[in-house]
């Protein structure tokens, strides 16, 4: 039985220790949060050139069905002031060949998008809020194609785990504004050496089970930049998957800014000579 004296003599010490412990815990948690945000920023800032052109294929695979293949060329240009322009042009199959999508990701986080429909020979401005729409019927949502700024999420390091034979940092990212993303959270396995994700699990309604999984299948160093040359996005409920293969990548070929205009979007021949 504690005496009042004992209690009185221990209380200030206990309070002090508890305060110190709390400070230590909060400090450690804060340090971990900083570390997590730094890692997310490192992934975002990974060197990928001033501009990039890729020629690739999107392979939509479903069990017991013939795969559907879309061939596409993509262009990316980092402009001054934190603006990034992206142009995607479909080359095959014929029913979507020539269709183009131009996106301008602005420094304030907003995105302007235009779609070119060859049948009408018309450029249409479209809303970029279609985050959960499937990109040309694939397992990629429109949101998956956008570079998400790390500041839009709260990050947390969950530990280290081996993925693809590499000891990765496991990073959890939860949107600060739940309306800002299709996903309630993402868990990424990051290779600390290259800052390349090896795997990403995407969670939607069920916070315990991921709905989709992205896996890196192979990477390659082009002109000193690491390029994901083969990856898969898997719909874990249906088993349907979309494989993204980059057949060729060209960095820093000084793509002109006029390539990322509605005029170039409507005239395929203006950009075709910049293809790999």
């Amino acid at each position: 039985m504690r005496t009042p004296v004992n209690h009185m003599s221990l209380t200030p010490l206990l309070l002090l220790v508890r305060f110190l412990l709390l400070a230590l815990l909060l400090g450690a948690a804060s340090a971990r949060a900083d570390e997590a945000s730094d890692l997310a920023q490192k992934v975002y800032d990974r060197p990928n050139g001033r501009d990039l052109t890729t020629l690739g294929r999107m392979v939509l695979t479903e069990k017991d069905r013939a795969p559907r293949i879309r061939e596409l060329v993509t262009y990316r240009l980092d402009k001054l002031g934190g603006e990034t322009a992206n142009l995607i042009r479909f080359l095959d199959p014929e029913d979507i060949a020539g269709t183009g999508l131009l996106s301008i990701d602005k420094a304030d986080g907003s995105t302007d998008q235009w779609l070119y429909l060859p049948a009408l020979d018309r450029v249409r401005r479209i809303s970029s809020d279609r985050k959960g729409g499937r990109f040309v019927g694939s397992d990629f949502f429109f949101e998956d194609l956008q570079e998400r700024k790390p500041s839009k999420d709260r990050h947390r390091l969950l530990g280290r785990q081996t993925e693809n034979g590499i000891l990765c940092e496991v990073l959890e990212s939860v949107p600060l504004d739940p309306k800002d993303s299709v996903y309630s959270r993402r868990i990424s396995w990051i290779d600390p050496a290259t800052a390349l994700p090896q795997r990403v699990d995407y969670f939607e309604k069920n916070p315990a089970a991921p709905s989709k999984r992205w896996l890196l299948r192979s990477k390659k160093r082009n002109q000193a930049y690491w390029t994901v040359t083969d990856s898969r996005m898997i719909d874990l409920a249906s088993g349907h998957e979309t494989r993204m293969v980059v057949d060729a990548a060209l960095y820093d070929q000084k793509l002109p800014a006029k390539l990322f205009t509605s005029q170039a979007l409507a005239d395929e021949s203006l950009e075709s000579e910049y293809r790999p």
Partner: protein, 481 residues
């Protein structure tokens, strides 16, 4: 003190180095299937693989490759873009096979279509492009009072194009569709309408190439588009025996005119007057902040005919008088919605007086459109409000005002292998209904197999009313290769 040490040790033990208990379980690594990815299909666009490079399919598997790739060689040649390459492309850009049933039409029980178009595109240099296109349209109409077969051959887009910097010049037969709204854009003043299938097809398939000289000039975010139509061609009309003809000899009606006054057209002679030039038009557009906009000025002849009545000779002559158009349009995204608007003034619009004589007036038109994707998912909704008002106090046979809505809802499902959609239009001040549901299988790329229906109903003088006996159910195959 012992308790304090215990508390401290417990607290330190609880201090997470990582949130270990929240770490997902390791993924079971399945044996990767052998790489059976076929090579790219587009032979003219195969990527160039430089010596020493491997294609991704041949790249080493990922596991354990973080640092085992050699560093980039400073002496290795920097890859370059392919640059310009002369191209020659031949293809069929449209093939439609469609069988249809007309349950209510007195003229026919079935209506079937075969439509195909082919092209050759040659780009010998960076500056020059030549295209030649041809199309064939076949229709059969059986099982009623107006059995009919028709086969039409026509040119498609056939032109010579020159590009240099920000300038593009095109001379030849071209399909030019201006405007922002779907279905009936107001700024669409230089295209040639194809009425052979009325409104069964989408806008791009309801237009045909016509001879034009076109100059497109870009100035930064602005684009100037000037078109001159040296040789006018009226709309491609179906044969007068077709159920889609704007003159119905069976019921004695002319589209847009009160049928009580046109019973005599069953025996009328029908002529076409489309001599001379089609006029010219310019359009200035800008894309970018804060919104996209366009301004259009046109002095052109519209390809849609106005039927001039000559009662003494019981004849109808399709004429295409010049009219003046001034229009403005804009497009912006706000609140996750795309807003489109067109406003137009048209002068010298032909109208029919109660005496059947032709008169001219002017018209004001407005279209407001809204496009959105509910829930940010795979369903697209496009809603358009339309207003048309003829500015005349005189008594005329046409509708003086028309207010209505039209649009389209479409969605995909089963991993994009199926598409379902509905095109619709309806009048507010008059009954005028068009509904067209469609279910398509698009998993057999690039082909589309579909079943569709087209339902028409409405008052006299409306499009839905004119075709109310021509509701149609179709089964079709559409492809290109």
């Amino acid at each position: 003190m012992k308790k304090l040490l215990l508390t401290l040790s417990l607290s330190l033990a609880a201090l997470p180095v990582h949130a270990v208990d929240e770490l997902p379980p390791p993924r079971l690594v399945a044996q990767e299937a052998p790489d059976d990815l076929p090579p790219p299909r587009t032979t003219t666009r195969k990527p160039r693989v430089t010596q020493g490079e491997t294609s991704p399919a041949e790249a080493a598997p990922q596991a354990g490759t973080a640092d085992d790739l050699p560093p980039p060689s400073a002496r290795s040649r920097k890859p370059v873009a392919r640059g310009f390459r002369p191209t020659l492309k031949v293809g069929v850009d449209d093939l439609l096979l469609e069988a249809g049933a007309l349950p209510d039409a007195p003229e026919a029980d079935t209506y079937s279509t075969l439509r195909t178009s082919a092209y050759v595109l040659w780009q010998p240099s960076r500056n020059w492009e030549l295209r030649a296109g041809a199309r064939l349209d076949g229709m059969t109409q059986d099982g009623g009072t107006a059995e009919h077969r028709e086969m039409l051959a026509d040119y498609g887009d056939t032109y010579v194009r020159y590009r240099n910097g920000d300038t593009r010049l095109t001379l030849g037969a071209q399909t030019i569709i201006w405007g922002r709204a779907d279905e009936i854009p107001l700024a669409d003043r230089v295209s040639r309408v194809d009425l052979t299938r009325f409104s069964l097809d989408e806008l791009s398939d309801r237009r045909r190439a016509q001879l034009a000289a076109r100059w497109e000039q870009t100035f930064g975010d602005y684009k100037l588009d000037a078109v001159w139509l040296p040789l006018f061609r009226g709309a491609q009309l179906p044969d007068v025996a077709s159920v889609w003809s704007p003159i119905n000899r069976t019921t004695g009606q002319v589209i847009g005119i009160d049928p009580a006054l046109t019973a005599w057209v069953s025996g009328a002679r029908i002529d076409e007057d489309e001599h001379g030039s089609g006029g010219g038009a310019i359009r200035l557009t800008k894309a970018g902040e804060p919104f996209d906009f366009g301004i259009t000025l046109a002095r052109t002849r519209q390809s849609l005919p106005y039927y001039q009545v000559d009662l003494p000779t019981l004849s109808l002559t399709a004429v295409h008088p010049f009219n003046t158009f001034v229009g403005a349009d804009m497009e912006l995204v706000s609140g996750g919605l795309t807003w489109r608007m067109e406003l137009g003034y048209t002068g010298d619009v032909p109208v029919t007086l109660a005496t059947t004589a032709m008169d001219r007036t002017h018209a004001l038109d407005w279209i407001g459109a809204l496009e959105f994707f509910p829930g940010g998912k795979d369903t697209r909704v496009n809603l358009q409000l339309v207003a048309h008002a003829l500015q005349t106090d005189r008594s005329i046979l046409e509708l003086k005002e028309y207010y209505g809505a039209n649009g389209e809802i479409e969605t995909t499902f089963a991993q994009g292998r199926w598409k379902a959609g509905m095109r619709f239009s309806g009048g507010f001040n008059v009954e005028d209904i068009y509904l067209s549901p469609k279910l398509s299988y698009v998993g057999w790329e690039p082909h589309e197999l579909y079943i569709a229906a087209h339902y028409f109903d409405g008052d006299a003088r409306t499009l839905g009313g004119f075709h109310q006996d021509h509701s149609l159910i179709t089964l079709g195959l559409r492809t290109r290769f």
